[in-house]
Symmetry: C2
Subunit: 284 residues, 2 copies
């Protein structure tokens, strides 16, 4: 048994499992939510990974994101991981809401002391999926999609662009699209990699990665025009779309600017059906 | 201006307004959420009142209940009021989670000191609707429905049974159906009315009220078989159904025992579409 099942909750005809496990890559116990749709009782189901944003855990979107609504109809499992290691006793890990605890940025830190466990890239791409597939054979390891919100949208885009053969679908809600050019990303990359590691920074910047992606893209990105973080220049979706269009004849990035929507779960829940259906096109 | 608009949030194509106003019946400022569906831009829309349960405010269901999903499609406004007066400085009002603050039980208290403002019945039935209709002419005062959860399900059933000409639809999630025979209800009625006021207790007991309802009933009630409060005998839906069946040739109460569901918003959100569509049958 890799996972301890803390709770099993009926939701939209399926089961939401609150799980925890001892993770090697993050050097601590990690909690997550796994939604198994009703179809999981009758055979293998595709898996959609949802990566959360700053300050969130795997619980927020499982409660407020409304993904279970369409996942239960399409027959797709949804994994809601946490956003960082917790309780590593690293000095300063709880000092700010946009760095350290709750803000792992889906990278493997190369700078001390964060190398102690801030390896969310390896956790999300390798350790967590392998653990899930070994303990839940009903999850179809050959049909994976990835999506996320804000910092988790950055995670979804960069992880997809670095592993296009591993994931069949990708979408994002209000993603940080060009972290090396926004305050959130610069603070995180300076902390986890160091100020002088520009090449390392670019390895985790969706706008830089797409320049050399070299194959057709199919991405759905929603951003609210009332999103204060978009207005502050933290998301920069236009930079990503421009780079994608320059890099490929047809970029295949569907960027929808949603009038008046903010950065909250009210925005995510409104368009969750669309993103699950987007994933279903490629996973089913 | 009766209401102050604290926030306007885009949600499922409509607008969620976070409002507050000085209420006479509760003798304090009351906060609420009002969801206006997209159809409200083109004319009057019916109104569904959702009454929350113990410890909740009007915010919980607006975030986690997903009524907006179907309300936006059906063209129904949803009102999410608070569950009690707050900050009245009554001794003991914050001492327990199931009495006082967050636990108004949708009655008008007759016992001191709660008479100071614990008049949630008058607030929900009279003051709040009148205030909303005067400030939001887009709300159709001739087409009202009422629903709720747990203590709010008790509120929805009793308010409907006492005012069948005011509300065209009624449903409930895991309602307290027979408060005079459960611990929650006995504690509340003892506190708000007094131990010796049995007639007053029966005036706010759905199972007692339905005995003399004397007209056809059309109610949808969902209860989860995994609901610990149901198992503890706090809800007693069977008592209500039995009384309804004895009182009318065809009770018209649709009680759905939902396998494994608990008492949480995971349960409410799963069946919110059904309850909005139930209301739409009568309101549209």
């Amino acid at each position: 048994m890799i996972f301890e099942t803390v709770a099993t909750i009926a939701s939209f005809g399926g089961r939401l499992l609150k799980l925890k496990h001892a993770a090697k890559s993050t050097n601590c116990e990690m909690a997550l939510n796994l939604y198994l749709p009703p179809q999981a009782s009758n055979g293998k189901v595709p898996v959609l990974f949802y990566l959360s944003g700053l300050t969130c855990s795997g619980d927020n979107c499982a409660e407020k994101g409304f993904f279970q609504h369409s996942a239960s109809r399409e027959g797709i499992a949804v994994v809601y991981p946490d956003t960082s290691p917790r309780g590593l006793q690293i000095e300063g890990e709880d000092d700010s809401w946009d760095f350290g605890t709750g803000a792992g940025f889906y990278v493997n830190a190369t700078k001390e002391p964060w190398t102690k466990g801030y390896n969310m890239y390896s956790y999300i791409v390798d350790e967590l999926p392998e653990a899930l597939f070994s303990e839940f054979p009903v999850l179809d390891s050959s049909s994976l999609g990835i999506t996320g919100h804000s910092m988790g949208g950055h995670g979804a885009l960069t992880i997809y662009l670095k592993n296009p053969d591993k994931y069949k679908s990708c979408s994002a809600f209000a993603p940080i699209c060009n972290p090396i050019n926004c305050a959130w990303g610069q603070k995180a990359f300076k902390g986890y990699f160091g100020e002088d590691q520009q090449d390392k920074w670019k390895e985790h910047d969706a706008t830089e990665l797409v320049k050399n992606f070299g194959r057709p893209l199919a991405l759905l990105i929603d951003v609210g025009t009332g999103d204060n973080f978009y207005k502050q220049g933290q998301l920069l979706p236009e930079n990503f779309v421009k780079a994608a269009e320059e890099a490929t004849h047809l970029s295949g990035v569907t960027l929808r600017m949603q009038p008046d929507y903010d950065h909250s779960y009210y925005f995510i829940s409104t368009f969750a059906d669309d993103h699950v259906k987007w994933a279903a096109k490629y996973l089913l």
